[in-house]
């Protein structure tokens, strides 16, 4: 195995890992602000890709506008999910709310399948398809877009969370919802913000990854699962943890396929998740 090949594996792993990282961040935001694990997160990624496809192909909009609309529309879906499904049930135990998100994911997937059909679809890459040579590996420009987007998201979130009032309010809810409420923060509104933001981020991930991987109505399932794994590996509370988790997962998949066996690629990734869940503190790293 040459260094060329190793670099290729690392780049593939980093690209995949960046997608898992963005999805994982989505999980983390909602969890830290509301305590809910949102299993519809994968579907938000799918919607980003599918809506972009639809806006470009059917509504014949220029791609940049299509992408913005897709992200905004998906953020809207997140908003509606919180408003109509989560808020009415807000007195219920967290596990019920989690189950509601599972139901929402099934609904969104079903509607997508009905509306757009079951076939895989493709959107054009942002800056063309010509491979770039990077230290012995060939990378398509789109992979670089994915990694760059992930870094941008992390930076932008850090800015918002640390330097704006909204960000402080979100962090307060994450630390202690009760106390935040007592201090005059509208926790219900924060919940809405968390869902809309995560949905928008998921859609952004979908928009950048679809030119590389295609998307279809059920693409959200596996992505959601792996994003969940990324968030779990990183300890559910932390954004940077989700990023680390995502990259770790992407690399484990890539190197596992390269050195162990490509038949068991997914199994390796899920094994990593399994080991993390068995940690004394469990997925969130709290206690133990």
């Amino acid at each position: 195995m040459s260094t060329e090949q190793l670099v290729q594996y690392l780049v593939s792993g980093a690209t995949l890992g960046s997608v898992y990282a963005i999805v994982g961040i989505g999980f983390t935001i909602i969890f830290s602000v509301t305590g809910i694990i949102n299993f519809a997160q994968g579907e938000f990624v799918m919607l980003g890709g599918m809506l972009s496809f639809w806006f470009i192909r059917v509504a014949a909009l220029p791609p940049p506008l299509a992408f913005l609309l897709a992200i905004a529309a998906t953020a809207g879906v997140g908003f509606l999910l919180e408003r109509w499904a989560i808020r009415p049930a807000s007195g219920s135990p967290v596990i019920s709310l989690i189950i509601i998100t599972i139901g929402a994911s099934i609904l969104i997937r079903g509607l997508a399948g009905q509306f757009w059909g079951k076939d895989a679809v493709h959107i054009p890459p942002f800056s063309g398809d010509d491979p770039i040579r990077l230290g012995g590996a060939t990378v398509v420009p789109q992979s670089l877009w994915v990694i760059a987007t992930m870094l941008l998201v992390v930076a932008a979130l850090k800015l918002v969370l640390d330097y704006t009032m909204l960000g402080k309010a979100l962090r307060a809810c994450a630390i202690n919802r009760r106390a935040a409420g007592l201090m005059g923060i509208d926790t219900k509104a924060m919940s809405l913000v968390a869902f809309s933001l995560s949905a928008g981020l998921g859609a952004l991930a979908g928009v950048v990854i679809t030119p590389l991987t295609l998307t279809s109505y059920d693409a959200g399932t596996m992505l959601g699962l792996k994003g969940f794994a990324a968030a779990a590996i990183g300890g559910f509370g932390s954004q940077l943890g989700a990023v680390a988790g995502g990259l770790l997962l992407g690399l484990a998949e890539s190197l596992g396929a390269a050195f162990i066996s490509s038949s068991y690629k997914d199994a390796i990734a899920l094994l990593v998740l399994f080991l993390v869940l068995l940690r004394p503190g469990g997925a969130s790293g709290e206690g133990g």
């Binding site: 195995m1 059909g117 079951k118 895989a120 493709h122 398809d129 060939t138 590389l212 991987t213 390269a258």
Partner: protein, 386 residues
Amino acid sequence: MLRRPSVSLVAALILMAVLSAIGAGCGTQASDSYKIGALFAVTGNNSPLGTPEKETAQMLEEQINAKGGINGHKVQLIVYDTESDETKAVTLAKKLIEQDNVLAIIGPSSTGESMALIDTVEKAQIPLISCAASAQITTPVKKWVFKTPQSDALAAAEVFDYLKSKGITEVALLASTGGFGVTGKQALEAAAPQYGIKFVASESFGDKDTDMTVQLTKIKGTAAKALIVWGTNPGPALISKNAKQLGLNIPILDSHGIANQAFLDLAGDAANGVILPAGKLLAADTLPDSDPQKSVLLSYAKDFKAKYNKNADTFGGHAWDAMTMVTNALAKVGPDKAKIRDELENLKNFIGISGVFNMSPQDHNGLTKGAFVMITVANGKWTVLK
């Protein structure tokens, strides 16, 4: 709370029970139409196969009924969506057999689903005409199971013949982990030695995987002079794209599993140069007039395009063959499952879309190598390889 129910309430309940029993009885014994069951993967991974199959079968049902049915009996096609799921396929098959009382079942769309149904149809003694490709469906022969697609074993032979003619002996294999890929891999590995071909790399990919650059990078590092990809869309399309990205310049040979428009759409430019064995439908207009299948192929292509405004493909063709075989049998022997089975088993010189069929008690597929042509993609179009 538990007061004695009033007399009128009890009477109403009894009346409802009686009416629904009569209703149910009426439902399944409807008129004297001939019921044919169909199981297709209209949704899920295999929907590019199941959708044209369903559309073709329904188009034929309409055509037959428009001409007055079979010997005066209307044909009723009962189609269920297996969702590309093997467990669902079994449940729905049982439903067709026990509740809908069909005379025969056409489909399912995939190898995995078909293999799952074998026990059920053998026990129920009902003819099954599968639209899936693996040779294992009909080898060893099962009494009630038939299939219309060309075998993956035949496709493998075509691919190896081609490689041998080009003097290529070191080959890499990239097969899907689904039923089609797994059985195809077995067929390929079994036949390779006969053609002097050696697999220097054997990798796998999942049907829903989104990135195969790792497997292709591994393959690039070997001495392989050609790559065989065995799976159904969208995997092979992604593989062609990834291969182009990595600058993998060896010839790529695919299976007949990609022989539809979806592959061309998804792979875009990367599709050019791919070589595959396929049924003649894809390039029907370039066949010589002396070809016995030509007129059947062209008329199917024309009817399908007129009705659905898209191109017919080989998968729909498999359903055409299955449906036509069953309806021909019904016309000859009437609504008797055992007689239909016998009729199917003795079918000779049946000119279908997938080939010219000659069934026998030892061969429930009935096709030979002549059913395939080698096709390539040039300028985004399917062309016969010269």
